[in-house]
Subunit: 579 residues, 2 copies
């Protein structure tokens, strides 16, 4: 494992420049992750060999505390835009937004290359595309497990099926000029009713192809043991559903297509009708039905408007918002803002999803609100009613042992998770630290026939932020201002001066937001005004007014005064009006 010094985070917009291609090793395959390595999400990576590029996934990341007000963060495609004629195709591993979500923003910029995806993944991409009528129309080639496709002269890719929590996920062997690189997408083990993992043959077969480098999802690398089998989740859910005397409301992720299918099947078995609240969930279930992943009798799924036609014990409502998202169904239900559903005493509410870090408080609020209204609540911490889609430590180790790669490159996850994953590979098959590579977003890794190494080359990978209609127009400075405004607020100070003599024409105007009520603090207000008159008054009036200089004086002196007085540092924004 090659350990690096702490480096500037990818949240800065500092533009790192790729070294000129003259320095490239002509016989090396270059690998770059544009996202996904210092976050959970924004998965996008590419391989480059001479003048050919293939891309894997084009995902988005949801905003974080440090990026207030942002809608999404998408991968930086600056490098690919400069080489778009070289792009031979995009491969999508599965239909989750952290793997497909940036397509509408990025496709145009990189020349709308052909997309290789399974049928279900394609449907989900197309569904989302409806919200972006002006972006490029994606062009697909359908693939499935077992297929091999050729991409350009130097790459070919063989797909194999993997189990995730959405159907039709694929992993792949990328046949490159230096050897086979395995990228299994995201996966977990599927267990039979005896608790034995299924499909280990596939991994064995992959290993038999001879593997140069294994790239492995690190999301589950901190979790010990094996994943909870979905069979157990099903059984637990069935137990709760059976015990429920009134209505059942089940909250989960709209993207957990497999779970949605399980829940609907159990409901049907127990003669409950299923109504779905949440657009994304509804359209996902429709897609699953259309493609044959979900087969239920005609009247199992009913429109939400019709739930009142049935007795409570015949109803199950599937809804989004188990994370406490303010606008999703479950939160609107909890707050009494839902058009069709009000919580009533005797409802059983099941939250069948884990809590995404950062959402703990929202989920707590959600549970509080629902409990206050008399609902009986089950959530995944109380019972085995959720299982992650990502292989934990023992499953990762099993894969590593079966695939037996010469080199190991953990992907998807924060540094510590990838470090942990690298340790697993070292433990499982005795790889040396230098054979397990911890790279970074934007960093170029060179794969040669007998080696792999981290270069010093970088391509731009700084955040591209989507905010409203803007893509990339909110940068680090704007975010820094937002964070500062959130912490201490601001004071705008307007000094109106006579152009002729530089004298103050009127009492300075002062407005503040997010600081304190200035109206209730006349003393501070008056002192600020007095100080401004002093600052302006001390400027010799034979001198031409240097507005920037006066602003600096105001900013410094008023800032210091306010801090001494309140121990707070609001943003001070001086404006000089010359009339």
């Amino acid at each position: 494992m090659i350990v690096q010094k702490p480096r500037r985070s990818n949240r800065t917009t500092a533009r790192s420049i790729a070294k000129p291609s003259a320095e490239k090793d002509k016989d090396a395959v270059r690998f770059v992750a544009l996202g996904g390595l210092e976050e959970i999400g924004r998965n996008m990576m590419f391989f480059e060999y001479r003048d050919e590029i293939i891309i894997i996934d084009v995902g988005l990341q949801f905003p974080e505390e440090e990026t207030p007000g942002i809608d999404y963060i998408i991968p930086n495609t600056t490098y690919l835009e400069s080489k778009k004629e070289n792009i031979k195709g995009i491969i999508i591993t599965h239909g989750h937004y952290d793997h497909i979500g940036a397509l509408p923003y990025v496709l145009d910029r990189i020349g709308n290359p052909l997309i290789y995806a399974t049928k279900l993944t394609k449907e989900i991409v197309l569904k989302r595309q409806e919200d972006f009528p002006n972006s490029a129309k994606p062009v697909f080639e359908a693939i499935k497990g077992g297929d091999t496709i050729r991409l350009g002269e130097h790459f070919s890719v063989t797909f194999f099926d993997v189990v995730h929590n959405i159907p039709e996920g694929v992993g792949m062997i990328i046949h490159t000029p230096v050897g086979n690189v395995v990228h299994p997408g995201e996966f977990k083990f599927d267990y039979d009713n005896d608790g034995k993992p299924r499909g280990l043959d596939t991994w064995k077969w992959v290993g038999e192809q001879g593997v140069h480098t294994l790239m492995l999802d690190s999301t589950g690398s901190e979790m010990p043991g094996y994943a909870l089998s979905e069979r157990i989740v099903e059984a637990e859910l069935e137990k709760i559903f059976k015990a429920a005397k009134g209505r059942l409301l089940v909250g989960t992720f709209a993207s957990l297509l497999d779970r949605l299918g399980e829940i609907i099947k159990i409901a049907a078995k127990l003669n409950r009708h299923v109504a779905i609240s949440g657009l994304s969930m509804k359209s996902n279930v429709e897609i699953a039905q259309r493609l044959g992943y979900l087969k239920v009798e005609k009247n199992t799924i009913i429109p939400l408007e019709e739930i009142k036609k049935y007795p409570d014990e015949k109803i199950l409502i599937l809804c989004t918002g188990a994370q406490g998202e303010p606008k999703a169904s479950l939160m609107r239900i909890a707050n009494g803002e839902h058009r069709h559903i009000q919580v009533k005493s005797g409802d059983t509410i099941v939250l069948s999803s884990s809590i995404v870090p950062g959402n703990e408080r929202s989920v707590q609020n959600l549970k509080d609100n629902l409990a206050r209204q008399g609902a009986i609540i089950y959530h995944y911490k109380m019972l085995d009613i959720h299982s992650s889609g990502h292989a934990p430590q023992e499953e990762l180790k099993t894969v590593i042992k079966l695939v037996k790669p010469r080199f190991f490159l953990p992907i998807h996850g924060y540094y510590f998770m990838r470090w942990r994953n690298a340790k697993l590979a070292q433990e499982a098959i005795g790889l040396k630290p230098e054979e397990t590579i911890l790279t970074d977003n934007g960093r170029v890794v060179e794969l040669k026939k007998q080696s792999i190494h981290l270069t010093n080359q970088e391509v731009p990978s700084y955040y591209v932020m989507v905010d409203g209609l803007g893509v990339g127009d909110v940068g680090e400075v704007v975010l820094r201002d937002r964070r500062a405004l959130a912490q201490e607020g601001m004071i705008v100070i307007i000094a109106t001066l006579g152009r002729q003599n530089g004298r103050i024409l009127k009492n300075p105007d002062i407005i503040s937001r997010g600081f304190i009520y200035l109206k209730d603090n006349q003393e501070i207000l008056e002192e600020i005004r007095r100080k401004i008159r002093g600052i302006v008054g001390r400027i010799p009036h034979y001198q031409e007014l240097d507005a920037d200089y006066v602003k600096t004086l105001i900013r410094d002196q008023i800032g210091q005064y306010v801090f001494n007085k309140t121990k707070r540092r609001p943003m001070i924004l001086p404006v000089i009006i010359e009339v």
Copy 2:
């Protein structure tokens, strides 16, 4: 259990008014929690009987996402301020900040009543008081387990020792005119080496006194089973310490006095010297030494400056910041900003504390940064190296069974946690739902000889926020502005008009922060200016200028334009300057 409709959260500043005392039942004991019921923290409650009041705990709460920029949130003492002559004393259960932290802000306001606390708790309060030289000097009466004190004519209190993660925690039986109320403070079970809980006799004895109402901490009520024994934590820590070849850095909470003691003892046993980084931790260890809770040889604890005098394998550094707090030791170490400590390859770093909800990202960053520098990291999710201080379900049930109260009133924790705790009491001893009371901050509960009930009376319990030097001067409006500024930023628009004719004298000045770079978006800037000229131009000039009306026009029309153009809603702040 009495289930209530969802109510306005205590985060609003709406002033609820206590009903006039004429309506009070003269024979009832009134109980009110001023905080701690819709949060973790800010614990403060009082009992009132006729003209006598006793208070338990005066804690603070740390800020949350919804209260940006705030230092602390403290309990609202409006009601107590109006009755300060009735206050017979404050009882402090233990020395954690969520039980003592608001004392310096509150004591003055409520007439500086006598504080009953154990020796250690007193020392911690006094230590903190040093930071508040201008606040009231607290007056103490020392108590210990087994003591009984009289408070006024109607109350007396018998204390008993409980085990928490700080020494000298006490629980109490409050002898009131209507019966005994038990408040056990915060506690967990202590286990002997065979895994048997110690001290069950105490709980049995408490039960034998005859208990009207049991008030029970709900923090652990969602956790199934029993707490991890500190003996196991100790053993695990010792194992890791023994295996460490280089330096050891251990991060934990400064307030976990027991854990600090354990770590120092193991270090001494393994011949490691202990250096402490973090002021609060250092002063807590000093207090523990002074009071005899921690006995170590003279040269076990060394000054931080001296760590370089010893070989790495003889050093253990205890530090604050295991939550990734930006200014605490471990984060400064991780960022290379610590004066005495730089991470080096071969360091073993142990995070011996849970993650406080909301800190997940910071802890992830911390681990990433430390791992990048070559440290070997252990944290509590990987191993049994942390145990909560709060009794989980089975321990709570054991206490309920031994205390056998007639009524049950869960305290400390969000509604759902208290709901869960009430369920435990119903399961454990068959209490009826109406015998388990779920109240709210500020709500008056009446205890009578044969009953307990939730009244409709309320005393003010809205948030009082501490920000810099201000207490209570940041209200909901200021916070709302901060949140809005954080999401979309703001635009200040300054229109300078002639007082005589209402005509625009100069091109409108526009400044924005946290929105987009207006400099890069000249088109929007120009359009805003054009629109302002239009708005002002359309005002008939024979009419006197109505500045508020013009501002409303600007706010609406510019706001709409910006939204159409960008799908964002920055705060629009129009200023009219008349010259």
